[in-house]
Amino acid sequence: MNGEDVASRMWLELSALAPDRWPAIRRAVAARIAARLLAELDGLPRSASQLDLERQRRARQLAHREVA
């Protein structure tokens, strides 16, 4: 049994044991998962900016007008 199977079983058992409180528990856990994920993503160095690439491409078009 892997970690995901354990997590899946825990979720199932929790939802069965505390059906009335389950939605609130899930929301609280989700908030922590997402907060941790977003912090981790923000902490990674950003890959070469795709947006910058597009701007550079447009700038090159305008800069080399002799082609047109």
Partner: protein, 251 residues
């Protein structure tokens, strides 16, 4: 005396420059007609092909940008639909503007962390940006919330395939075929691509045949055109491989 072809060429170049600067659609239409006429007269002129290509490139990008606006409006009007989100990410990626969707879906996830679809959207945005490590982190986080989510599993298969881990991707598509919706042909299409990339042409051909048969059985023969073209391509590869084998045996 003025050379009429030269005059038309100058006009085409002027219209191209005008379209690039001002994005006037009438200039684009007029330029298109001029280039088509010029190319009919001078089919081997590399400069004309370059300029006509640029015109179509710029016009295509503007069309995709217009599509982005449509998808954004569709999302506003019907927030429950997933399709416009996928289309939006696809179009932004085509424009090299994936940062827009990454920022959008990070904000959406922060606002609705218990919605599994937000993990799917953000993961796909990263995948299409080529940020595979980040896409993997999003999938893993989503799995903590919903370990059995098919959307995340599908995304993982795409990530594995993009990372060159094709056998693992194929195993996931196989799972989909066994457990998933029989009306969903996506695992068959994806398996066909992956099998072809692995050089397993006979198996790839079998996937395309399944897809063609399905469409024919579901009164959508129109949609067999492309699968049939793909199948022809695979069969040509099989024939070439067989001919190579025969050649090497004969040699």
């Amino acid at each position: 005396m003025t050379n009429p072809a030269g005059t038309l060429r100058q006009k085409a170049s002027r219209l191209l420059d005008e379209y690039n600067a001002l994005h006037d659609e009438s200039a684009c239409a007029e330029a298109k007609r001029a280039y088509q006429q010029l190319l009919a007269e001078h089919p081997d002129d590399a400069g004309l092909h370059l300029e006509y290509g640029m015109l179509q490139d710029w016009h295509g990008r503007r069309s995709i940008r217009a599509a982005v606006a449509c998808y954004e409006r569709a999302i506003e009007l019907d927030p429950g639909q997933d399709a416009p989100h996928f289309q939006l990410t696809h179009s932004r990626a085509a424009l090299n503007e994936t940062e827009h969707v990454i920022d959008l879906y990070k904000k959406r996830l922060a606002a609705a962390p218990d919605q599994i679809r937000e993990y799917r959207f953000l993961g796909r945005a990263y995948l299409y940006a080529g940020a595979r490590e980040e896409a993997g982190k999003v999938i893993a986080a989503g799995r903590k919330l919903d370990p059995g989510d098919y959307g995340l599993l599908e995304l993982e298969a795409e990530l594995l395939d993009a990372s060159g881990r094709r056998e693992e991707a194929l195993a996931i598509w196989q799972t989909f075929k066994q457990r998933g919706d029989p009306e969903n042909l996506e695992p068959y299409y994806m398996s066909a691509f992956t099998l072809e990339a692995l050089g397993r042409y006979a198996e790839a051909a079998a996937e395309w045949r399944h897809i063609i048969d399905w469409h024919e059985a579901h009164d959508s023969a129109m949609h067999t055109k492309w699968p049939k073209e793909m199948l022809e391509g695979i069969e040509a590869k099989i024939a070439a491989a067989d001919a190579g084998d025969t050649g090497s045996r004969q040699a």
